[in-house]
Structures are given as C-alpha cells and as structure tokens.
C-alpha cells in the first residue's frame, strides 16, 4: 500500500473517521508492521494533543426556549376581493372591445394612406409655359438673329470736338 494512502488512513483512524470494521483491519495491519505502527502513533499523538488543545468549555445554562407562535395567514378582505373582481371584468371588457375592432376590419385594407404620385408626363401646355425649355430656346434663337446692342461711350473731349 502506498505510504500516502496509509497516512490518510492513519489520520482518519486517529480522528475517528473510520468505520469499525475498517478500523479493525487497520489495527490488525499495524500489529504486523512496527514501522508503520510508530508512524500511526505519531499521528495519533498529534491528534490527541490537538483534542486537548481545544477542550470542551464548561456547559452553559440553557435558557428556556421561547418559540414565537407563527402568525396565522391573514384572510383576504372581501372588499378587496370584490374590487379585484370588478377590475378583472373591466379589463376583460376593454380587451374584448379592442379585439373585436381589430378582428372586424375588412380584409385587405391598408392601414397607410396611399402616397401621392408625381406626374411623369409633360403636359402640352407646358410647351409654351414661362419656364419651358422651348421658350428658352426661342428666346436664345431670337436674340442671336437680332443685332446685339452696342454700348458706346464717348468722352467729353470727343464730344467737344464733334461739336466744333
């Protein structure tokens, strides 16, 4: 048997943690092995010393036991119960109305309003409208055809010379 396991057994034996049959077997083993027996004596001596080191203090006078009677469960008041009943009924009523509104909706109706669409086609009237492209082209072509206005500036000296 391994020494480590034996040491644990010795400690359990010394601490009184072995069952009587295991303790008897260990005692029989120790009788045959004086070396191990010495080691057990050393452990047992240490445990006995430890037991002496923490002796039982003198007994204290036990005071009388005062068990507080357990309070009986409080009955639920009838007014509170009636209030609860009314509350339950009101909640059921509101829930019923809500559900019936939701359930009675016609099938397939959309909940969102249809979005307004923009016209993609240009109206014929816009051909001649103020901001129309045609108008812009017409103005450009007409201005190119007519002579541009020349701005001349005559100095006063020129003016006097011409007057002379």
């Amino acid at each position: 048997m391994k020494q480590e396991i034996l040491e644990r057994l010795f400690m359990d034996r010394a601490l009184g943690g072995l069952t009587p049959d295991v303790a008897a077997l260990l005692d029989a083993y120790l009788e045959k092995d004086p070396e191990q027996s010495r080691q057990f004596e050393s452990i047992d001596d240490c445990v006995r010393l430890a037991a002496r080191a923490c002796p039982k203090p003198p007994a204290l006078k036990l005071p009388p036991l005062k068990l507080v009677p357990m309070p009986a469960p409080r009955p639920v008041r009838t007014e509170f119960r009636a209030g609860l009943r009314i509350l339950e009924m009101a909640a059921a009523f509101v829930l019923g109305i809500g559900l019936s509104f939701w359930g009675l909706r016609p099938a397939g109706t959309a909940t969102m309003k249809p979005q307004s669409t923009f016209a993609t086609t240009v109206e014929p009237s816009s051909q001649s409208a103020f901001w129309s492209m045609n108008r812009a082209i017409n103005i450009r072509s007409s201005s190119e055809s007519t002579q541009s206005r020349r701005v001349t500036w005559e100095t006063l000296m020129h003016k006097t010379q011409s007057m002379n």
């Binding site: 644990r8 400690m11 359990d12 010394a14 601490l15 009184g16 943690g17 050393s42 452990i43 240490c46 445990v47 010393l49 430890a50 037991a51 002496r52 080191a53 923490c54 002796p55 039982k56 203090p57 007994a59 204290l60 036990l62 005071p63 036991l65 005062k66 068990l67 507080v68 357990m70």
Partner: protein, 168 residues
Amino acid sequence: MDDTRQWIEALYLESGPQLLIFLKQRVGDVASAEDLLQETFAAALRQADRLRSASSPRAYLFGMARNLAATASRKAWRRNQPLFIPEPQQKPQDPRLELLREAMTRLKPEFQEALELRLRHELSYEEIAEAINVPIGTVRSRLHHAVRQLRQDLCDPDRLPASRKEDV
C-alpha cells in the same frame, strides 16, 4: 403543528447545550449566543420540513447556527466591535500543548473550523459536511491538511516563531 413544536423542543434540549457553546465561541458573549440560539430554533421551526429531511438534524442546526453567527459577526464588525473574545486559559503544563494551540491559530480558517467541529463538538465527518455545506470529501481533505500541518509545526522547530523555539 404541535408535533413539530414538540419535536423542535426535544431537539433544543438535546442539541441546545452544544449549540450554545458553539455560538458563544463564535460571538464571544453568552447573551448574544443565547439570542442566536433562540433565533436558530425559531428558524428551525420555520424550516421544519427541511430540518426533517436533513440526514442529521443536529448537523443542520449547527449549519443554521453557523450562518446566523456569521451574520451577527459581520454586523458586529460593521459596528467596530470585537468579533471573538478568547476565553482566558491557564498556562498548560505541557509546552507542546501551548505550541499546538499556537499552531492551530495559524491554520487556515476552514481547516480550523473542520478540526474544531470534529474535536471540540464531536461532529462526525458527515455531520460536518452537512453543517458547513460541503462534500464529505472536502471535510476529510481539510482535516487531513490540518493534521499534517500541525504535525509539521510540532516536528519542525524552524517553522515556529522565535519566541516558541525556546520552549521546545
């Protein structure tokens, strides 16, 4: 309900003295320990079904007392009161005993707790597991660690504080 109350009262007479000692150790004074004992059994009455289904009602009560003491200690800490007042002890004849006492104070709290529940309050491994709400393997392991460390402290004088080396 009367049956439950009688059963709790019987448990009080059976486990009350041990629990009172346990609680006094935890909180320091008898008055607080007595209050916590009453609280423990009041809680036991409220949780009677769980207490009945526990593998060891005594261990379950220890667990409840432990939790209540921990809460009380936290409150006391907030109020800046001392958590634990050790009892004045006589100087032991055996210097090794004093040494071991000191070694026990250096153990990790969880090892110390397991060892105290086993040696002082004589709870079985299963009961300790129920009381501190850990698997039994953990209890075994904690106890082994504690004993191993105590042995090392006793055998190896170099591990001891300088003041104690002279005694050995």
